[in-house]
Symmetry: C2
Subunit: 187 residues, 2 copies
């Protein structure tokens, strides 16, 4: 296979999350595509957010934020939260809001899984900041749980690819991790 150079601005397929904050006392939600687990123990998550956004103002003041996993049926509202800025539009009424252990990380009632995070470190980068948060609480709709674990086909998460700017559903199960390669290990 002979490869060709493509632009370095390549994006791997990412889960779409909604980051919730209180900014100047008002609930705000932002669609974020750059989010991943960062630390195993204690559980931490990292979100790369552009410095020009409204959300960093809230995280900087409260030291907290939420990470909400929308299902496919929330696609329009999720996309809307990525289209308009909380600096000019009031997004506090788009979703129902609840709080868990932290009192300044608004979580979305309609999202089947929500995490509340306590900021542990901000890593400033040229155009973005990586916000690393310890997961202080994780909440799930019982309907998406099966045997004590999230049932991802029922959760029906959204994925985002760029630069084609397309949302995708989760496909079919392709195999088990830490298992599918055992035959190669033995050989």
């Amino acid at each position: 296979m002979e490869k060709v150079p493509i632009g370095t601005n390549f994006f791997i397929p990412m889960p779409v999350v909604l980051v919730g904050t209180l900014v100047d006392g008002r609930v705000n939600f932002m669609a974020v595509g750059w989010c991943a687990r960062a630390n195993a123990n204690p559980p931490m998550i990292a979100c790369g957010i552009g410095n020009h956004h409204h959300t960093p103002k809230g995280i900087g003041v409260t030291g907290t934020f939420s990470v909400n996993l929308p299902s496919r049926d929330l696609l329009e509202k999720t996309d809307y939260c990525g289209l308009v800025s909380g600096a000019t539009v009031d997004k506090s009424q788009v979703f129902s809001v609840s709080y868990g252990n932290l009192k300044t990380a608004p979580m979305i009632g309609e999202c089947p899984v929500t995490l509340e995070c306590r900021l542990v470190q901000s890593v400033p980068l040229p155009t973005n900041t990586l916000y690393i948060g310890e997961i202080a609480g994780a909440w799930a709709d019982p309907r998406v749980m099966k045997g004590g674990k999230p049932d991802f086909p029922v959760l029906d998460p959204l994925l985002l690819t760029m630069p084609d700017n397309t949302y995708w559903t989760l496909g079919s199960s392709a195999g088990k991790a830490w298992s599918a390669g055992l035959a190669l290990k033995k050989s």
Copy 2:
């Protein structure tokens, strides 16, 4: 919807990548599930890797690493690279290897898209380190490109969910980003 608390060790669906390094002069590949874009301009990517792994030794010495996106047909080999450590097993022959602009970031010939990264910052966390790399080169098999962009259904990436430890394929297109929410914006 009344939610219940679940363990805070929650994992959002993540793309599976293979991180390539030179460790003590030998090519090594590791399966990584915690990887996301971190900065827009210049393009940077962040990977959260456990401190006990073999890969950090290589990144620390060369200051470079590669991020390779396997297709579904590489599932067994990808899983194998997550099952065994380069500290005890020679994984240098699992894939064909090539180099791009950097000479110490081995890329996988069989992966349809590969990125070579120059380490810009290591963020130490309790059990993991976030390795933030600037994308110094991005390479693609022309067969997965369509109109100058990666065609993700052809690329056929793998996703991983935990704690059910399941690999998934990418599903169907669910809508266009920065577009699906325009009706809400107007209303």
